[in-house]
């Protein structure tokens, strides 16, 4: 004895679905008729206010108020369209309302969103009520057929005309009205949307730019410190030793001072070399990204399979960021993975530079695991790049870095 389904099966389901579809269409029709009428009223008010502006600025205050109402109506329509289309609700645009109305008006007029709203207002004022007018026209026609044409006689022709009218109305309600609802929603979305969530994008860019500026500042401080305490101090010591040598009359002392000066000069050179390597590795300048990655792979303690194909060179800042990210990833493999093999793959397809560094080690690389991975992410984020980590316990680990960029 199975349990019977509560509903009457697919047919009934389809029927209720169809009914809901038609109902949605009809409510959408009514709603758009109302908002359309409101849009018409607001449009008239906007035009009237604008017409009054030349008269000693009399229209400015009403215009500011009307624009606020326009924004509210547009906001309502935007939310409705979002629901209908099943999209995230768009926060819409915002502009300074300002303490003074005049400032708010100026800000509103400068904002392209305001002009898009006015364009939508005009279109919606016309298209919103139009279907209601059309349905009204059809009902009038039916009325005319029923009562005026031949009220008493139920001839064949009459019945046929009546049936045709009813079918036409049903078709309109079932098909055209829901289509109209979707069309209105898309129209609103198209005209009122300022693109995908602009505010979130701006926040993201602001954050990544701040990270870049911070990183640059820290880098400059480090370079300053290294030069100051390293090479610069050593050059002073060299001068001092040479000065001592010059002032000395003891040949052994002179030779000793010169030898010491030479040793310190060697150390200063080493300092400078390390510093240069940290700023911009010479091999990267000489050989580009693929050559530089090949060079870092040579320093890896385990064999590294290379599959590097790059038909050109990215912009120097991107090249440098990706190189350091790759070097960091290879250093991580060498230090922590316990791998016996590693591989690096470099490609540029469809405007995206994609670098994969993998190893057959024990895995479990995590985003929050250490500064290395975070460093890679920070480097890439400055160029809108991303890092994907696949590192299950037991391995293998694969880091995929993607940076959108062009090659030259």
């Amino acid at each position: 004895m199975g349990i019977r389904p509560a509903t009457g099966g697919p047919t009934r389901k389809a029927a209720t679905g169809l009914a809901a579809y038609a109902l949605n269409g009809v409510t959408g029709l009514a709603l758009n008729a109302v908002t359309g009428l409101a849009a018409l009223v607001l449009l008239v008010l906007v035009l009237a206010s604008v017409a009054l502006v030349p008269v000693a600025g009399l229209g400015l205050a009403p215009l500011a108020r009307v624009l606020v109402l326009v924004r509210r109506l547009a906001g309502f329509q935007r939310r409705w369209a979002g629901q209908v289309l099943g999209l995230d609700s768009d926060p819409g645009h915002s502009y300074e309302t300002g303490s003074r109305r005049r400032a708010g008006l100026a800000s509103a007029l400068r904002h392209p969103g305001t002009w898009r709203e006015l364009g939508w207002l005009a279109l919606h004022g016309v298209t919103g009520p139009a279907p209601v007018v059309a349905v009204w026209a059809m009902l009038s026609a039916l009325h005319y057929v029923w009562f005026r044409l031949n009220p008493m006689e139920t001839s064949r022709l009459n019945t046929f005309a009546l049936s045709l009218s009813i079918v036409a109305i049903a078709v309109v309600v079932l098909i055209a009205v829901p289509l109209f609802r979707g069309g209105q929603a898309r129209l609103a979305r198209r005209l009122l949307d300022a693109g995908p969530a602009p505010d979130a994008r701006i926040r993201e860019l602001t954050a990544s730019r701040a990270a870049v500026v911070d990183a640059r500042a820290a880098e400059l401080r480090r370079i300053e410190r290294d030069l100051h305490d390293g090479a610069q101090a050593k050059l002073i010591a060299i001068r001092m030793h040479l000065g001592l040598a010059r002032g000395s009359r003891d040949p052994d002392e002179i030779v000793r001072m010169i030898d010491e000066a030479r040793d310190v000069a060697g150390q200063a050179l080493t300092d400078l070399r390390d510093l240069v390597r940290g700023i911009h590795p010479p091999v990267l300048a000489d050989r580009g990204l693929d050559g530089a990655i090949e060079a870092s792979a040579l320093l890896c303690p385990m064999p590294v399979d290379l599959d590097l194909h790059l038909p050109g060179r990215p912009q120097p800042p991107v090249e440098s960021a990706v190189y350091f990210a790759a070097a960091e990833a290879l250093a991580n493999v060498a230090k922590h993975s316990g791998a016996s093999r590693a591989w690096v793959r470099l490609r540029h397809t469809a405007g995206v530079l994609r670098l994969t560094v993998g190893d057959d080690g024990h895995g479990t690389v995590r985003r929050d695991g250490g500064t290395g991975v975070r460093g890679i992410e920070d480097r890439l984020s400055a160029f809108d790049g991303s890092l994907t980590i696949s590192s299950p316990p037991g391995g293998p680990t694969e880091l995929t870095m993607e940076v959108p960029c062009a090659l030259s």
Binding site: G266, G291, L298, L299, P301, M302, P303, L306, D307, S340
Partner: protein, 223 residues
């Protein structure tokens, strides 16, 4: 011995000319850019050349490229590359034709005049002179040097000094042993690396090559 010098920094170029002339070399030409270097190398076919890796017009690795091109045209043409930094990649490229007469040193090494002049001579004679930094980078790697696994620690040490271009006598002095003892080590090395007796000098080069190329070249295949 006839030398060609390539260095774009005038101060350093003049210093190199003076240093080598003072040590019995004849500088036949001193150039400051890549294209002129290649022409000079092919025209003079010097006994040895001292080349800055970075030269105009591109200020990338023009010096190295000119040297490789010259060796392609004149096989075995001795070249000593000077560089502000050492790169295994470049050491490998220099040694890739498997003939001697190559050196790759940090520029700082010119400060130690005697050792530098020794290195130039070593290269001129068809030997190798690899910078201790190249050699030490290779020494710190583990697990990739299978061909060298059979060597004892002392033999490895001797091999690394051979790679730097030291003669048996110099190695003996370094370890404070007899010349003969070093000779025994080198013969053991040649035997273990399967280098049959032939011209001793060439065997030294081959041993160093084996050492520097202990890592198989990374295969360029899809993953």
């Amino acid at each position: 011995m006839r030398v060609v010098i390539a260095e774009d920094l005038a101060l350093l170029r003049d210093g190199l000319v003076r240093l080598l002339t003072a040590n019995g070399f004849t500088v036949v030409e001193a150039v400051d850019n890549g294209p002129m270097l290649l022409a000079a190398l092919v025209r003079h076919r010097p006994d040895v050349s001292v080349i800055d890796v970075r030269l105009p017009p591109g200020f990338a690795d023009e010096g190295l490229r000119a040297a490789l091109e010259a060796r392609a045209q004149v096989p075995g043409l001795p070249v000593l590359i000077l560089s502000q930094y050492v790169e295994q990649l470049y050491a490998r490229e220099l040694l890739s034709d498997r003939s001697g007469g190559v050196g790759y040193l940090l520029k700082d090494r010119v400060g130690d005049v005697d050792r530098f002049v020794d290195a130039v001579r070593q290269v001129a004679e068809g030997g190798t002179a690899m910078d201790p930094e190249v050699v030490s980078q290779l020494l710190t790697r583990h697990g990739r040097d299978e061909p060298l696994a059979a060597l004892t620690p002392r033999e490895r040490e001797v091999l690394s000094l051979m790679a730097e271009g030291m003669s048996n006598l110099a190695i003996a002095a370094r370890f404070q042993v007899t010349d003969k003892a070093v000779g025994k080590h080198t013969n053991n090395i040649f035997a273990k690396l399967d280098l049959p007796p032939s011209d001793d000098h060439n065997r030294r080069v081959m041993a160093v090559l084996t050492y520097l190329q202990a890592t198989p070249a990374p295969p360029r295949s899809p993953i």
